[in-house]
């Protein structure tokens, strides 16, 4: 794939910020959107907009076909066996909360264990903290190696026959670590636990096959993979979703409503209360078409290449500390760092003055920050439209930052 060619599909990248051509290195927070997605949303609202699953009229049918068509694109994208296993929700956070509140409350009791890792995003920590508090279960953390990976020995030592849920991120939003989900799933299953996967940082970048992973649930967000904000996906094995109760009740999700009792629609609609995120799903479908055309394998290779280049280039800057796996092959396109004693906010402000967008802060991973023994870090994250020139600009920007603060530190 040719990143420079692909940039032409992203109009937002073609602008100056603070007098410099924009270098967007914050795709782990949210990716930019190609014209294909913007046009799909535009066309949906201009030509097809209507509510789904109810109209007899033509637009209603069209909107329904588009919405359900997007569901089948998602199914193929992650190789699920049925669209019954694809629930459209607001995003990864909502999806993980649904699993915790519905599956969790029904299947976890006092004395049971829920297992996560130190590197999780808050959205894969707090739902389980709340579940542990609600049920009296124990929340356990799989420790981390010095290089920001987790070892299978530690997984085996932490997951026990009392464990009911194991929930792990597939790719770290801070360290870029790619976790061995398939192996962890085997251990979870050997102990009778279900495996939940936070794939928010994985779906945009690496090929996901839920049948091969054999995970029980997997969640991701559209906006990190070229799609719009406000649309996300929960994949769940049909047997689990069938046994689960909805947590949102109202229109769209009901089969029959009586005065005192109601029944639910079949899968997946029983989890989609209210008018669904129709345009969002259509936009996500267009994003999937776009990614498929480039090929997830090509995107993954491109990001390994950029990560390797960054890991080679950035350490030339004196005083720069990089966190996470040392090899670009072992990480997705995320590089988190600190520059001497310059606070990451100050780093990000100087880089912004140079037109370079990076994230600074705790990246919604406070336990991981504690583990790294830092209060905050700066993060550059790459996607299919980033180039080695972008990393050169980052390196030059960091040198300027260092120079700018040199009389202070």
């Amino acid at each position: 794939m040719n990143a420079k060619e692909l940039r032409k599909y992203f109009p937002i990248l073609d602008q100056e910020v603070n007098g410099h051509p924009l270098v967007y290195l914050d795709s782990a927070a949210t990716s930019q959107k190609p014209v294909q997605v913007i046009e799909a949303l535009n066309a949906y609202y201009r030509q097809h907009n209507s509510n789904v699953h109810r109209g007899v009229h033509t637009l209603g049918n069209r909107a329904t076909d588009l919405y359900e068509g997007a569901r089948d694109k998602v199914r193929r994208f992650i190789n699920a066996s049925s669209t019954k296993e694809i629930v459209f929700l607001r995003g990864t956070t909502t999806a993980l909360n649904l699993v915790a509140q519905s599956y969790g409350r029904a299947n976890v009791k006092e004395g049971d264990e829920i297992v996560i890792t130190y590197m999780e995003h808050h959205s894969n920590i707090i739902p389980w903290q709340q579940l542990a508090k609600f049920t009296g279960a124990t929340l356990k953390y799989i420790p981390m190696q010095d290089d920001g990976t987790i070892s299978m020995e530690d997984v085996k030592a932490t997951v026990t026959s009392n464990t009911k849920i194991v929930s792990v991120m597939m790719v770290s939003n801070v360290l870029g670590t790619i976790n061995p989900i398939e192996d962890i799933t085997k251990i979870a299953h050997e102990n009778g636990a279900v495996m939940v996967v936070d794939a928010a940082q994985a779906a945009p970048h690496i090929h996901i096959d839920v049948q091969k992973l054999d995970c029980d649930f997997l969640a991701f967000s559209g906006h990190k993979m070229c799609g719009p904000t406000g649309i996300g996906v929960l994949y769940g094995k049909e047997q689990h979703l069938n046994n689960m109760e909805p947590i949102e009740f109202g229109g769209e999700m009901i089969d029959f409503v009586g005065l005192y009792e109601s029944t639910w629609k079949e899968l997946p609609w029983k989890f989609e209360g209210g008018t669904p995120i129709i345009a969002g799903a259509v936009g996500l479908g267009a994003a999937i078409d776009f990614l498929n055309e480039i090929g997830l394998d090509a995107i993954e290779q491109h990001e390994h290449k950029l990560a390797s280049y960054a890991l080679e280039k950035l350490p030339e800057i004196p005083g720069l500390t990089i966190y996470g796996p040392k090899s670009g092959k072992d990480r997705a396109g995320v590089v988190t760092f600190n520059l001497d004693d310059v606070h990451p906010h100050d780093v990000a402000t100087v880089l912004d003055a140079e037109g370079i967008a990076v994230r600074a802060g705790h990246h919604c991973a406070q336990p991981l920050m504690k583990w790294l023994d830092v209060s905050a870090t700066a993060r550059a994250s790459f996607y299919l439209y980033n180039t080695e020139e972008d990393i050169d600009r980052l390196a030059a920007g960091l040198l300027k930052t260092k120079e700018y603060f040199s009389d202070v530190f």
Partner: protein, 144 residues
């Protein structure tokens, strides 16, 4: 180096307060203690004050954060020491107006604080500058 915009933010006096913070530390058995953080970025402040007969006789801060948040805390503690609660809260209002880029009354002696004016042009950094002031307001309002 030409960073004209940045120079409005990172004024010499700010960097001086960052490098040599005034009133850094914690008062043991302080009469007022406030812990506050900025959940979006991880900055946190631990503010302790002694208030006697409506006067802030002592103020110290501890915490973690960027140059803007820490220098602002340093200046804030410097400005309220020896002043009464009403004055400190009034100063805080003036500071809020300054951060919003609004006109503010010029009858108070702002001293070093005036150097933080440039923060108003960096919307993403306003919360850094106001953290310690919010902590002070919270602590002193309870004392009124």
């Amino acid at each position: 180096m030409s960073f004209n915009n940045l120079d409005q933010l990172y004024r010499q006096v700010i960097m001086d307060h960052y490098k040599n913070p005034r009133n850094k530390g914690s008062i043991e058995d302080g009469s007022v203690t406030v812990d506050m953080n900025n959940p979006t970025c991880g900055d946190r402040i631990h503010l302790t004050m002694n208030v006697e007969d409506g006067i802030v006789t002592e103020a110290k801060f501890d915490g973690e954060g960027c140059s803007i948040s820490m220098s602002s805390a340093s200046m804030m503690t410097q400005a309220i020491k020896g002043k009464n609660i009403d004055y400190a809260l009034q100063l805080s209002n003036v500071f809020s107006e300054m951060m919003l880029g609004n006109d503010y009354p010029d009858d108070l002696d702002l001293g070093d604080i005036e150097a933080l004016q440039g923060v108003a042009k960096f919307p993403a950094r306003i919360k850094c500058a106001t953290l310690s002031w919010k902590a002070m307001e919270k602590g002193l309002q309870d004392e009124k």
